[in-house]
Symmetry: C2
Subunit: 657 residues, 2 copies
């Protein structure tokens, strides 16, 4: 299998018992298939279908796309008890949160309730997470308000605005499902943890600022989301502030923060925290009803229509002039919803040690948004707060989502009049408390301590969101993240290796200051694939290492430099520019009377060096399996042959050029 180019005329060959193997070239189609599979199907979903009968394959296929078919047969009554409790708990959170977030998105409150009914049912069928609680999300709501609100006013043209919100939800769903079907789930991976931390904290800050409208009882408010516009909007209408509303808001924020704080101190208080939002809504409504505060500057929700979600397929504004706006909004909120949802689902799955398939999750999210957009819902995803409550309440499967949907259905059918007197300021207080928990300054400090670039990404996202806009924050963070990856390749680290005392091991002298130089030999390690983006840099850097070493040797009077060993262990790949770089490095070493030696070229690299005849140029006998063997051979040549043999040899080669 292994081609070995024997070369018998080298006396020092006995020092080199191991040969670098050149793996056989795979046919192009095979190599392409393997690399496409690794790119798009890294989880190998077809493995389970192997060696199965036709019917069994059909069942497995159905179970693959509709996970409920897989786990429903194993569902037990004890699971149901747990799911029932968890489902009722999250429903008590879902109702006020649904209304609050719809408010944040400038949509009618009832839309928020609708959105907690249909999408959770769809997700329960298709989703692979057992802990995710489906519902509307703050950041998505904010994004819809800020992106659509820029072009269509929700107060002046509420019908068009609602239609566009649903159309955007439809496109978000289509985009999410497409990503899943096309196995492009890794797109979400480009939103790193640092990006999400910064982005979420920024969005939470912005959302809190927006709530000042509700808390201060302001009627006119800016449509911008950045800090400066919002502060200007607030302080330019000092005389419009309503103290009644403000006091009520502060009280509820204090109450909600207190229950949250208590629940963290003692497990028993968990239920108090979980039920606090509903309690606040009830308390607030009763208070307003008793004091008629709605006539004294405290805005209330007002009438909510009774009944289940009406169909809204006809409302999707496909022919509208704002079509591109809806598509753009859909893509942005779709990807943000996915990023949050998949990250939340994954965290809990790791905690409970089960597996979540990113691509399947995307299809589930997509389907639930498509279904939602046809039944008067707007964007739904997997909000962290609700999922955490679900998890803590002891849910076992996605049945808790079904229970929640049932509870919301009952609310829609019978209980909506109860929300007439619910003050908006209570909803603002609920949002503010939820959002303050998302401002994750501890993570930011952790990032600063461990990785400065990640901290930069995080702060870029945060400041971008707070001072410019949600999209700009995201673009800044993704750009910095990508630049970091590109910079890793464009400016790869190179190290001088030395011998670890009493061993044949060679390691960077930076990391191991006790490692010794080998007289007459310079060992360089390259730390990235050699690509077009770094080949010029590497050429310059290698020649600088060589001249620095020559200067050092001259001034210290050691054996002059004869061999340059390139350790290619960490070079995972090479392209044609990289091969040219090596060829030029060899030529320039030849001219200086130095011999270039390669150590441990990897399979990808040695294949290409072979095809491009560089192996013949450098000589198969100058390629070693380890740095240790390369050094041994160089030492052998230095001490047994004439010291300037390599210089002579290279000069001879030079004449042939």
């Amino acid at each position: 299998m292994v081609q070995e180019k024997g070369n018998g005329d080298n006396t020092y060959n006995e020092y080199c018992p191991h040969r670098v193997a050149i793996p056989p070239t795979k046919p192009f189609s095979k190599a392409l298939k393997a690399s496409l599979k690794e790119t798009f199907f890294p989880d190998d979903p077809f493995r389970q279908f192997k060696n199965q009968s036709g019917l069994r394959r059909l069942v497995l296929g159905l179970q693959y796309f509709v996970p409920i078919l897989e786990w429903a047969p194993r569902y037990t009554f004890s699971f149901f008890k747990a799911d029932l409790i968890a489902g009722i708990t999250i429903a008590s959170l879902a109702v006020p949160q649904g209304i609050s977030y719809a408010n944040l998105a400038n949509l009618p409150p009832i839309i928020g309730l609708y959105s907690s009914f249909v999408p959770p049912l769809v997700y329960a069928m298709l989703g692979s997470s057992r802990d995710l609680a489906v519902g509307t999300v703050a950041v998505g709501s904010l994004l819809i308000a800020s992106m659509l609100g820029k072009e269509v006013s929700p107060t002046e043209n509420p019908k068009l605005y609602l239609q566009l919100a649903m159309t955007a939800t439809f496109f978000a769903g289509v985009f999410q499902a497409l990503l899943g079907f096309l196995r492009l789930g890794f797109v979400v991976d480009f939103l790193s943890h640092a990006t999400i931390v910064g982005f979420m904290s920024g969005a939470a800050t912005v959302v809190c600022l927006q709530q000042l409208k509700g808390v201060l009882g302001l009627v006119h408010f800016t449509h911008e989301t950045d800090l400066i516009s919002v502060l200007h909007s607030i302080f330019s209408q000092l005389h419009q502030w309503r103290w009644e509303s403000g006091v009520l808001g502060c009280c509820f924020v204090f109450f909600l923060m207190l229950t949250k704080y208590l629940s963290k101190r003692k497990k028993v208080f968990f239920w108090i925290n979980a039920l606090a939002p509903l309690t606040s809504v009830i308390l607030g409504s009763v208070l307003v009803y008793l004091t008629h505060a709605e006539k004294h500057g405290v805005q209330v929700i007002g009438n909510l229509k009774k009944g289940l979600n009406p169909l809204s397929v006809g409302e999707l504004a496909f022919g509208s002039a704002y079509m591109t706006l809806a598509i753009k909004t859909g893509i942005v909120v779709g990807i943000i919803g996915l990023a949050e949802g998949v990250a939340v689902g994954r965290s809990f799955a790791i905690f409970k040690n089960y597996h979540i398939d990113g691509n399947k999750e995307m299809i589930a999210f997509g389907m639930m948004n498509i279904a939602g957009s046809c039944t008067s819902c707007y964007l739904t995803a997997g909000p962290f707060s609700r999922s955490a409550v679900n998890f803590n309440a002891g849910c076992k499967t996605a049945v808790s989502n079904i229970v929640m949907a049932t509870a919301v259905m009952i609310t829609l059918l019978f209980l909506t009049p109860l929300f007439h007197y619910t003050p908006l300021v209570v909803l603002s207080a609920i949002i503010i408390t939820a959002m303050l928990g998302l401002i994750d300054y501890e993570s930011a400090i952790h990032l600063w301590k461990i990785d400065k670039v990640d901290f930069l990404v995080c702060m870029g996202a945060y400041l971008g969101v707070v001072f410019a806009s949600v999209e700009i924050g995201l673009i800044i963070a993704v750009t910095i993240s990508l630049l970091r990856v590109l910079l890793f390749v464009a400016r790869p680290r190179t190290f001088v290796l030395g011998n670890i005392p009493n061993s044949m091991i060679y390691r960077s002298t930076d990391q191991y200051p006790t490692a010794n130089n080998i007289p007459g030999v310079l060992i360089l390690q390259i730390d990235a694939p050699i690509y077009f983006a770094n080949s010029n840099y590497l050429r310059e850097r290698i020649s600088r290492w060589i001249s620095e070493e020559e200067d050092r040797v001259k001034s210290s009077g050691e054996t002059s430099l004869h061999y340059v060993i390139l350790d290619l262990s960490s070079v995972g790949s090479i392209d044609t520019s990289g091969i040219s770089m090596l060829e030029e490095a060899k030529k320039s070493a030849d001219r200086k009377g130095l011999k270039l030696v390669l150590a441990n070229p990897r399979s990808e690299v040695i294949k290409k060096l072979d095809k491009s005849k560089f192996i013949d140029a450098i000589g198969q006998e100058w390629i070693y399996l380890t740095v240790g063997e390369a050094v041994a051979a160089c030492n052998f040549m230095l001490h047994t042959c004439k010291p300037n043999v390599s210089a002579q040899e290279s000069n001879r080669q030079d004449e042939n050029v």
Copy 2:
């Protein structure tokens, strides 16, 4: 200097004589400075200024920015003889090429001559290449014509068009000089060799197609550059073709191709080839003058104004409505000019073994274009054809550019009337011959053989340029190139390592099929930095490797799996997402009763693992300097301790979580 966390309670420690060093943390400011220096000053330009007096520093600084000051004192008469001959040779090429390319850019022919006068003088002062011959370039001319021509017609509004061309040149110069001053020379590196090959071949194809206008004597012609528009334009006006012009064109193309072919066969014919364009121009002009062919469908240059470049600072259209167009064009032609010029300069420098400083070259290019735009020149760079002639004619320094400029000056002052009868078709023939040499199908075949992705990049650029537009071709190629780099990081290769027989060396079993598995131990190698972009993939891939290995072990009845060794030799860097991935991999290994062991974490990685306390989680004693030592320790544990010690230990750890 090295922190070593001793851990004395492990009986197998005697098997591990070498410890992984955690390098001391550098202060943030120092680390930042070092990494900025490596990014922006990889060539360490300040090295020569060290330990020098103030005056000497000033002189060195001046010499750094104005290289002529450095080499002029060493200039000899024998150098001058060589430069004189080379300079006159390239002047004989510069005059017809200058007129031709101006024609290609839809600019008055005289502008082409102006552009061979001032810019070469500037470059001779500032440039660091000894072989580059400065002049107008075909691709840049084509780009100006196609980008500006889309919005301003050169025939209907020639004055505005000329102003915009000069303004674009000005911005190209500013952009080039800025890139140089800001040490952003590496931007050009992102145009890989494959991109340049495809792009140049595509541009040459497009330029040849454009010349059919001149050869066929057509008056009306499309402003588009894509193949389909051009062919449609040509074949829709079959009856407009002028046979006189066509015959003349074919004859000259044949003559020029013949001299080129001959010069490749015998060195003596080099001069014939070098002088062929001027000969063609003289022959063509005499022929037209004698036969009065200008009255029979052969278009001629007509009157050329005598005299040197007029100043054109006032012509720069800074306030124009087309300002953004000029800036955009300037940036695109600037970067293309740089890419070609720097690549050409570098090739010859490598050949003659001297060094070219990319950033200095950019400043020189920028300055020459800024100076050019103020003296009625348009975009200049370092065309390959002219530089190759310069090199072959034996030039020694940039003085050959000064000689060429002087020759062009004499032409401008006294000889312009001689070009009155020069037929345009001869110019077309000169361009076609030059361009056919640029269609580098051999390189494309070479790329296909060695690197399929590079071939894809090359074809993307070629087809994009030929079928869409020059910019689109460039965008396609750069996008594919960048995707390749990102994909290398997003889908890193992972390998199972095995023991090379009769050694302590561990290598990929893919590359070395003779390498043996170690019973009870799975060794995985990761081939890229562990970043956000691949941490999810790696988590899944590692768990798949483990379950595949467990399946294999089960079916073959070998010792069951107890240890998973991650070889981090090729992991050059890690971010916080990567650390989370390792933490999760450890948790999931613990749950399966497996012990995770790390081998050879590099300095960047071990520092961050230390800061994030992952070392403490995994245990300092489970991190080894080499895979060999890790395997030895695992074997020791497997054979001397109870076989399930690791499972017990991990269960104990699990309870602590």
